[in-house]
Amino acid sequence: MAFAMGTPLLDACVLAVLSGGDAYGYSLTQRVKERLDISESTLYPVLRRLERDGYLRVYDRPFQGRNRRYYAITPVGRTYLDVRRGEWIGFRDGVDALLKEESEHG
């Protein structure tokens, strides 16, 4: 794909997945990859950044004799997601309008 997936957008996508429920690393990665063809195979830096900024929190739960690390969105993460979502819709609508306009005139 010719369009780059910027950091804020990837952050928002990860938070959007988590807003539907807590997830562990592999399941989260798969859920993002179901929708997006991201060549970056790792979400680790994204999650660490979101954790550092307080948008998500981490907790461990035992699973088959080991601890599995889960990620959960925080209240401030939801607020951040709402803001980003609003910005994205505005951006998307702008691009949509421009592309549509060009195709109509072209």
Partner: protein, 373 residues
């Protein structure tokens, strides 16, 4: 190459770029990734992740470590400042979002109070650290025990667990910037624990963000917290007591599911202050405010009691045509707000089962109960 060899090569390469703590975190992530992908998919994961040396370099870059092993650099701190400002601005500019967060229902028409009394002087207690000025992040996660967080004038963090079972599950790490304390049970349904986890923070520490997450049933107590940017407390079943909280500059959120919230201190200066419980009472003793600071206090089943007799003035806060300073909401119980003569809010709005009761602020003569319904 199998999983073990892959992780070993990843580890060797990471060692050149990142500190040990970061390296362990990364290895843990990928080890878990391999395990959750399933044994049969080992080669597929290795192919997906690619060359371990390349992955290590990319991870190091994205995590902000340069070509050689070192700690965070100045540009990262600057980025941190921008990030915090970026958080603070949306939080303030998008106050409807804040409102939605605190109140999911339609609030009845607010009642206008006087808005024009000037603030003569800022209260001496006011403290406002610079936004995003680095500092230490604290994350405490506990399950089913009580957590007590308070600063002490000691040289290193002190973590003391006095719990009846599974004390080995207490882990804490401090790498100079982040303090993580994790305490969790073994997940069995009949698991029970009782006790207290006490985390004492040196008074000399420069804090950034403090988060306390109580996953099981237990109380949280925070007292005399030194200045920091953010304080989050989230409990499920238990009381939260926050005493003498005066230096939170940007975001203060205290929530519990079932339990009471008791707060005394100053609100977050540059952001929002939330106190909420689903079932329980909220009692807050507020000190001074020298500017507009949004407050949200919310209980579904319980009462809200605010003692604001020591509050100073509060100017009007407005955004997008609506303005509010103070939201108090009790779906079933009563709301009781008492302010000193000097407290003047742009709008105080709220609702309870029998109507809001506001006592005190001009133009209401002291001692007059004002019912709104």
């Amino acid at each position: 190459m199998d999983k073990r060899a892959y992780l070993s090569r990843l580890s060797d390469n990471l060692e050149r770029y990142v500190p040990d703590q970061e390296r362990w975190d990364i290895l843990r992530w990928y080890e878990e990734y391999f395990k959750d992908a399933g044994e049969g998919n080992e080669q597929a994961v290795i192919k997906e992740l690619g060359d371990p040396a390349t992955l290590a370099r990319r991870l190091a870059e994205e995590r902000g470590y340069g070509g050689t092993r070192r700690g965070p650099r100045m540009w990262q701190i600057l980025v941190g400042v921008v990030v915090v400002v970026a958080i603070a601005i949306p939080l303030m500019a998008f106050s409807p979002l804040v409102q939605i967060l605190g109140f999911r229902r339609v609030i009845r028409d607010p009642v206008e109070l006087v808005t024009t009394v000037p603030v003569e002087q800022a209260p001496s207690e006011w403290y406002e650290p610079a936004p995003g000025d680095g500092g230490i992040e604290i994350s405490i996660s506990a399950d089913g025990i009580n957590v007590d967080l308070h600063p002490e004038d000691i040289d290193s963090p002190s973590v003391r667990a006095d719990v009846s079972t599974d004390g080995d599950n207490l882990n804490w790490d401090f790498d100079g910037q982040y303090l993580y304390v994790d305490w969790y049970g073994n997940g069995e349904s009949d698991w029970k624990a009782a006790g207290t986890l006490t985390v004492a923070i040196p008074a000399s520490w420069e804090l950034n963000s403090v988060g306390i997450y109580m996953n099981g049933a237990g109380d949280v107590a925070v007292s005399d917290l030194q200045p920091c940017n953010e304080l989050y407390v989230e409990a499920q079943v238990g009381n939260v007591t926050a005493k003498r909280i005066v230096g939170v500059s940007h975001y203060l959120s205290i929530r519990t599911g079932v339990g009471d919230v008791a707060f005394d201190g100053l609100p977050a200066a540059g952001g929002s202050t939330y106190l909420s419980t689903e079932t329980g009472d909220i009692s807050a003793t507020l000190y001074c405010m020298d500017r507009s600071v949004p407050y949200d206090l919310h209980t579904d089943v319980g009462t809200v009691t605010v003692d604001g007799t020591n509050c100073g003035s509060s100017a009007s806060y407005s955004s997008g045509g609506s303005s509010y300073d103070f939201n108090a909401w009790a779906s079933v119980g009563n709301v009781s707000l008492t302010f000193g003569q000097e407290f003047v809010a742009g709008v105080i709005q709220g609702e309870d089962g029998s109507g809001i009761v506001v006592v005190g602020p001009s133009p209401v003569p002291t001692g007059t109960a004002w019912e709104i319904n």
